[in-house]
């Protein structure tokens, strides 16, 4: 009991959540229990020494693992014949704010026809995780996208440069919840503004015209 109380006090004192904390939060966020006999049991059978938490999603079984188990679990998911998840469907990031950054792997097996959702949470202050590009080559662009959109660092990725965003835009992560839409428009405004001036797309006399039309509008209102 006293340990838990101490932990709570730590959080109140504003200390950064640790790896174990975010794993606990991840479990707290999923309540629906999994019925026995699903792919979750196969995972536990293949990797008995890994801590799994499981929940039932709307379509797939959700399995939650800690960050340090990612390389081992995902490697086994692909290579073990009982699991045989040869197809990485999708990899997405989700920002849960103070409850951590989440990475979601959607896997599917063509031989067993089963699918699973694997989830990992990372603390906001330390968003490092092992890359899975060496397991599925198809993870390459998905990881690059998650990296630029959420600021997650995939260790071991061969080429972690922005994919969809401009090459020099490494200081903003648009899909994070602390970047509201208005702010993104501001950055864009600054960027576009510069470009327009440099290229010279503003026609001569534009400002006068704009001022005049604004004046007309006001007169009309009166």
């Amino acid at each position: 009991m006293s340990d838990i109380d101490e932990e709570k006090e730590d959080k109140l004192a504003g200390s950064a959540p640790t790896n174990g904390d975010v794993f606990k939060m991840l479990q707290e966020d999923h309540e629906a229990p999994v019925s026995p006999g699903t792919v979750a049991d196969t995972f536990k059978e293949v990797l008995p020494d890994v801590t799994f938490a499981s929940a039932q999603g709307a379509l797939d079984v959700i399995l939650m693992i800690a960050r340090e188990d990612v390389p081992r679990v995902l490697r086994a998911a692909k290579d073990d014949p009982r699991l045989d998840f040869k197809y990485l469907r999708c990899l997405s990031g989700v920002d849960h704010m103070e409850r951590g950054l989440e990475i979601v792997y959607q896997l599917y097996s063509y031989t067993h026809k089963h699918s699973v959702t694997l989830k990992v949470r990372l603390p906001q202050e330390d968003p490092h995780i092992a890359s899975v590009t060496s397991i599925w080559r198809g993870a390459d662009w998905h990881e690059r996208e998650a990296a630029e959109m959420f600021g997650i660092v995939f260790e071991g990725h061969p080429n972690l440069v922005p994919l969809l965003l401009p090459d020099d835009m490494t200081d903003h992560h648009p899909l994070r919840k602390d970047n509201p839409l208005a702010q993104i428009e501001e950055w864009q405004g600054v960027r576009l503004g510069e470009d327009v001036v440099n290229v010279g797309h503003i026609p001569a006399g534009y400002e006068e015209l704009a001022a005049k039309s604004a004046g007309d509008g006001e007169e009309g209102k009166e």
Binding site: K86, Y110, G138, I184
Partner: protein
């Protein structure tokens, strides 16, 4: 004589001193062969491609972030704007994700309307592919104009039903927004007849054509294992000999009621991708005809539908078989009227990842063929 011989020797000596270097050739972003604003940098050694670096993101509009700031009804419009050649299929995936989370039952008639429209949309999309692919191979105009004429017949049906040519916004969580016109069945049957002739026309024009085959046979080969490893899906995967179709694999909506075949390629090259798509069109026609037979009368929306849709907390990864492959919507809801996170798993985004694997070792002109055979829509790649 002696002098001439000496000169010739000198030339040979000079040639020996010449260095050969690899050259970077930039293709795009505005280039007719890139099917939109896509750029790739080819490193060529002579005529052979030794490296490809694709650059995407020129059409990134932040559909995922915008969806987080719109309510569920408003976020539908971004689905029309991702894959703008298969809008119904994308809308279908999105509304089904909402229905899964909200637990909404869809009336039978609405399911049939949706399936018929999605399959018709697959036809228009593959027509577009056939035309554009012909252009990539140098059959400029011929296939393109025929494919577009045929596509237009179906496009007119869409226009009559939805009132729009491109951004339909016709599907709703729970069904469709309004019922189809009274002459729907006859109209679609007539269009199917025309399409059957149209597919044959295009096949007669190009499928056996010697030049067409020579330019696409054994170009851009990818094996079944590699295709799975790169996460390819749809016709790209099936052309490599993997008989996987989500409509059969994890039947969604009412696809388990129809009888259709899954065409599979043998070599995994550009020509096989073309053949698979042409055969898929015939299978789509089969599905449409069966659906028209079975389509019942009845309501098109459930009776009790909230005016403002609120979803319970939860998440779902909904996937559908789009013309270009697996289209996925990963939707996270924390309650309320807006999605907390909406990730769009785009099929050609993943298919494009294998571009380097397919292109390296081929001629520069073949790079265009291979890119054409991937059938990318940049709106969906960049989102």
């Amino acid at each position: 004589m002696a002098k001439r011989g000496k000169n010739r020797l000198m030339v040979v000596e000079e040639e020996r001193d010449l260095e050969t270097i690899d050259i970077n050739v930039n293709v795009g972003p505005q280039h007719p062969a890139t099917h939109g604003v896509f750029r790739m940098v080819l490193t060529v050694s002579g005529e052979k491609v030794v490296d490809v670096v694709p650059h995407i993101g020129y059409m990134h509009r932040g559909a995922e972030k915008l969806s987080e700031n719109a309510d569920y009804r408003q976020a539908l419009i971004f689905q029309d704007r991702t894959d703008y050649l298969a809008q119904f299929n994308c809308e279908m995936c999105y509304v089904m994700a909402l229905e899964k989370l909200a637990g909404i039952e869809v009336p039978e008639r609405a399911e049939y309307i949706r399936v018929i429209l999605s399959e018709l949309n697959r036809l228009t999309s593959h027509y577009m592919f056939a035309g554009a692919f012909g252009t990539d191979l140098g059959v400029y105009g011929t296939v393109y104009t025929y494919a577009f004429r045929e596509r237009e017949f179906i496009q007119e049906v869409f226009e009559e039903i939805t009132g729009d040519r491109m951004m339909y916004g016709y599907f709703r969580p729970g069904g469709v927004v309004w019922d189809v016109p009274d002459n729907f069945k006859e109209r679609v049957r007539a269009v199917c007849e025309k399409t059957r002739i149209g597919i044959n026309d295009i096949e007669r024009l190009v499928t056996g054509n010697e030049i067409f085959v020579a330019r696409s046979r054994d170009i851009g080969v990818i094996s079944g294992e590699d295709a799975i490893d790169y996460g390819l899906s749809g016709p790209m995967l099936r052309a490599s000999g993997v008989p996987v179709d989500l409509r059969r694999e994890e039947p969604y909506s009412i696809y388990d009621r129809f009888d259709f075949d899954i065409p599979v390629g043998e070599r995994g090259d550009s020509y096989d991708r073309y053949l698979v798509r042409m055969e898929e069109m015939r299978q789509s026609l089969r599905i449409i005809e069966q659906a028209l037979e079975q389509m019942p009368e009845g309501p098109i929306l459930p009776e009790k539908l909230p005016r403002r849709l609120r979803l319970p907390p939860g998440e779902v990864y909904m996937r559908t078989e789009n013309p270009r492959g697996e289209y996925g919507i990963y939707l996270v809801s924390k309650g309320g009227e807006k999605p907390y996170r909406l990730k769009i798993r785009s099929s050609c985004f993943c298919n494009l990842m294998a571009l380097k694997k397919m292109t390296v070792g081929h001629y520069v002109a073949d790079a265009v063929t291979i890119l054409g055979s991937v059938d990318i829509v940049l709106g969906e790649v960049d989102r």
